[in-house]
Symmetry: C2
Subunit: 134 residues, 2 copies
DNA sequence: TGAATAGTTGAGCGCATATTCAAATAATAT
DNA sequence: ATATTATTTGAATATGCGCTCAACTATTCA
């Protein structure tokens, strides 16, 4: 069969290059794994959470100090910290009624740094001529 | 002044440790930079886009082959590719009416891999006892 | 005990966004 | 020219989510 002849797969989706599709299917992440992975990036995809990471990089802080440093509501910060806690991005210890939050592991900072790397790269190539496909 | 005395900053947010807050403010990302960085993670935070990255890792594919491999609508895939194109995650070349998409640079794959690393780590520590702060 | 303080939590609002559907564009084939 | 094919695009719908507000818990202080 020629590769330009159209094929329908079980889910009724036409394709042009059946062999390429077959191989692509093999190496494709399954939806479950992709969803798991997406959650990690999802937690990192909020400006507030990134700013929290940036100020926790050097050590622990209590909730209202974080709120104060970011000029945000304690409630808003607490909601974010809960999200970050569940994603194991931060941990906390309690001292009386004060909760001191800190980063959970260095993996977080690695991702953070790698993200910044990508940022400087894409900005550099963006400020260059590279207008490309709009 | 004692550090347990509450202070209000310009934006009227109480804090407990004024010096810590002062330092935190200095090293905090500004909202603009945080938003820029968040966009990078944001693009990586969708299962469909991650699956597209996973099948483009080995080479280019046309739109309907991608759709076929993922059992998705061509339209849905095209929308995602547009998003990825604007974020400079993918590029494409046209051959007649067929558009072949490929990853734009290795930074994307680096982030992708780092994400997977983080995933295996946090899953490992999750399947361990580490129930921790819920 | 009662008041103040640090933090959490749930409901609700507004906004962003992934997918679907239908229509449009552009290239090829008849 | 007309039809078919590959892809794009805009509108509409549905879902998810960040922040606010108010209420609540827990700890400290008087």
């Amino acid at each position: 069969m020629r590769s330009t002849i159209h094929q329908k797969d079980v889910c009724d989706v036409a394709c042009i290059h059946p062999e390429a599709v077959e191989q692509a299917k093999k190496r494709a992440m399954d939806s479950l794994a992709a969803t798991d992975l997406s959650r990690i990036f999802q937690v990192m995809s909020d400006p507030t959470r990134l700013r929290i990471i940036s100020i926790l990089a050097d050590g622990e802080l209590c909730v209202c100090d974080i709120a104060s440093a970011l000029s945000m509501t304690v409630s808003a910060v607490s909601h974010q910290l809960r999200t970050m806690r569940m994603a194991q991005l931060v941990k906390y210890r309690k001292e009386g009624r004060i909760a001191f939050y800190s980063l959970d592991d260095e993996h977080v900072l690695k991702l953070f740094t790698q993200g910044l790397d990508h940022l400087s790269h894409s900005q550099a190539s963006h400020t260059a001529i590279k207008k490309r496909n709009r």
